[in-house]
Subunit: 412 residues, 2 copies
């Protein structure tokens, strides 16, 4: 193939023809692939029966393994007792140095995986679809499944698509301009008479304004739910909940820094105190229903903590509250006024009324017990809420499910 | 560290304290890193003297090399003669299994690199900054340098930031909805009296509506040029130039497919014929200066081809034309009316007048000769143009430079 192309080029006369130039461009790519060790390998290959074949070229490796969230977890012994660890399977090598393995049939879902080559985790060079989670970048693939399945809901389908914008807003409360991701539903720009409701959707620790749109597949889920008539058209606002940060790693003047899980000023009240800067920005920049009935707030883990505190600190502001695997806890050390009188403000929120207080958590989530305690408190107060207990733990698989179930309940 | 954290957790009483919960979240990350073979390695580390240290953990590998566009290229012998290949350097291993190498001092620039481990190209697991180019994903880093340097111009700085939106527009000419990337400058949303000029910025073969915003650093370059007063505030529209494609790979209902360089309907006239669908969308959805003096069109490689043909096919539409390493060539096989009467329409474009016809190309670009032929044609016609000859070849390094030099010349 390369030889054929190069001969074509060397036979060219003075005037480049379109075809030859096209081929030349290809040669650059081919040459580069060859020099850089690439080959035209398909990985992952999703087979018709929803088994998946993974391939990795590594002629001199001693061992290539696959690890991913579709493999059964294994218990490993540690000095603190048994812990779950991601499962692994071995790949086998063919005579061309390509290692491969085929999974059993997988259910529709968005999955993550990596290879482990001679003990070192690497990405799949044949799969350009990667998502960052804090400081790790992992390959993903989707088993699409039938209409309405999770895999279908997380896919781009032939439906009207919303707009996703990365903007900067002014936060006087935090004394900085900050980056924010905004999803406006299909039709928003054209339908200039309608005022849209807004869901404020908050990320967890280590996340930022890129988390929900990338790991959470927010745009795909909402495009699909709205197209099917399951959710009303709404704006989704995805702010950055790390009050010390202007923007996601790489998107501020700090440069291309390595992301970290632990950041200052994430759960000390600064974000909650300044949250109305975001609401004000949204309500003065978008055509929105700027009242309690048009506002929802939800978040995962630390974002559930923020949603709980923001919604009771401004106890007559949101008609819809969603806590996804929330980190519910008294903040014993924080001195912010946000955390004062938890019980009193919660009661005030209840007395002011709301349409939905939704709590979701996985059965094996490490925050399960604290959520059970919080529910006991709400029960004792006779504070109404909807409770959703899922399988699994503190993982994105669950947060995508919770968003898919929560969004259809809003603004109806 | 992990031991300390876990002991803290195991000492916890019934009520989770905020601190303990924070630490628990960290443990999840720590545990995962440990299980997945990660370690807290900094790579790349940009040293104070602008040398760069790269590190890669691979205890049992026999060889780890670094390749990148900052290393001198090497000539390799092939059956067709000597060819340039990316340079490589060897890393050395310490007693912990971490391989490392430090470069010589690098000039300010955005650079790309990969590791080669036992002959196989891999990404750097400690660097989350990756950019896709067609079907390859490569790590990047920036040497920032002094104010005004290329590295500075490609960085996010403390300046007002524009908005970047991914939208979908209707193309009746191509019979589909299509995805498009739009940069609106800082102040666009607030300054509702001003009408902004528009630069239509087109990608090359294998690219799509993600190419300029990611590989081209368009938002950073324009934010910085506008903040310094070097360019006027303008909207940049980055369409998808592959007329058979609705959207970039992964962003259409085709799913997470492997991108390819060769696509149908890229240089057959379909895109040029339907280009006014894009202009119409922009001029009815944005507050723009909707006349010739407010329109510029530029593109790289195939996008230069498109810009050349679109601007002469609609010969009184654009006052500013930029051809970056353009694929200038007669299209002998295409039957589209777009390519008929090249010389006549070019003359018509000249007679109608324009303010700038800018051509940039690298000295070693494989398209150098065809651009020289095109310039000879223009000279013979006495058709005015500005010519910029740079070092180097058909690479993004040059296209970022050309955008940085072209944008300041527009709309003044």
């Amino acid at each position: 193939m390369v030889r054929y192309i190069l001969i074509t080029i060397y036979n060219m006369k003075k005037q480049l023809s379109l075809l030859a130039a096209l081929l030349l461009l290809s040669v650059c790519t081919f040459a580069q692939q060859a020099l850089w060790g690439g080959a035209n390998i398909i990985s992952p290959e999703i087979n018709n029966d929803n088994t998946v074949t993974f391939r990795y070229l590594a002629p001199v490796a001693d061992s290539v393994q696959l690890t991913g969230d579709f493999l059964p977890t294994v218990k490993v012994k540690t000095q603190w007792g048994p812990m779950d660890a991601p499962g692994k399977v071995n790949l086998t090598k063919d005579d061309k140095g390509v290692w491969s393995v085929t999974t059993s049939k997988l259910e529709p879902e968005l999955y993550s995986y990596s290879f482990i080559v001679d003990g070192v985790k690497v990405t799949d060079p044949n799969n350009v679809y990667l998502i960052r989670d804090v400081a790790s970048v992992t390959n993903v693939f989707i088993i699409k499944g039938d209409k309405g399945s999770k895999g279908d809901l997380y896919s781009v389908n032939n439906v009207p698509h919303g707009t996703v914008a990365r903007r900067w807003y002014d936060s006087p409360g935090l004394g900085m301009k900050r980056r924010i991701t905004v999803y406006t539903p299909a039709g928003y720009e054209a339908d200039t008479r309608t005022k849209y409701p807004v869901l404020y959707l908050l990320h967890g620790m280590g996340g930022d304004e890129e988390a929900w749109i990338n790991l959470g597949r927010t745009a795909q889920i909402l495009d699909n739910l709205i197209a099917e008539g399951k959710a009303v058209p709404m704006i989704i606002v995805m702010p950055n909940g790390n009050a010390a940060q202007e923007a996601a790693p790489g998107e501020s003047s700090l440069g291309l820094v390595k992301p970290t899980m632990m950041l200052p000023k994430t759960m000390d009240g600064a974000y909650e105190e300044s949250f109305m800067d975001i609401v004000k920005f949204v309500e003065s920049n978008y055509r929105v229903k700027a009242d309690k009935s048009g506002r929802a707030i939800a978040g995962l883990s630390m974002g559930g903590f923020h949603s709980c505190h923001i919604s009771r600190y401004y106890p007559n502001t949101f008609d819809y509250i969603g806590l996804f695997s929330p980190a519910i806890m008294p903040n014993e050390k924080a001195t912010s006024k946000v955390y004062a009188d938890f019980d009193g403000t919660l009661k005030k929120q209840m007395d002011n009324g709301y349409k939905l207080y939704w709590i979701g958590i996985g059965k094996t989530d490490f925050l399960y017990k604290s959520v059970a305690d919080f529910r006991a408190k709400m029960d004792a107060m006779k504070m109404p809420y909807t409770y959703r207990e899922s399988e699994g733990g503190h993982i994105w698989v669950n947060w995508r499910i919770y968003l898919s179930e929560f969004a259809p309940l809003l603004f109806k």
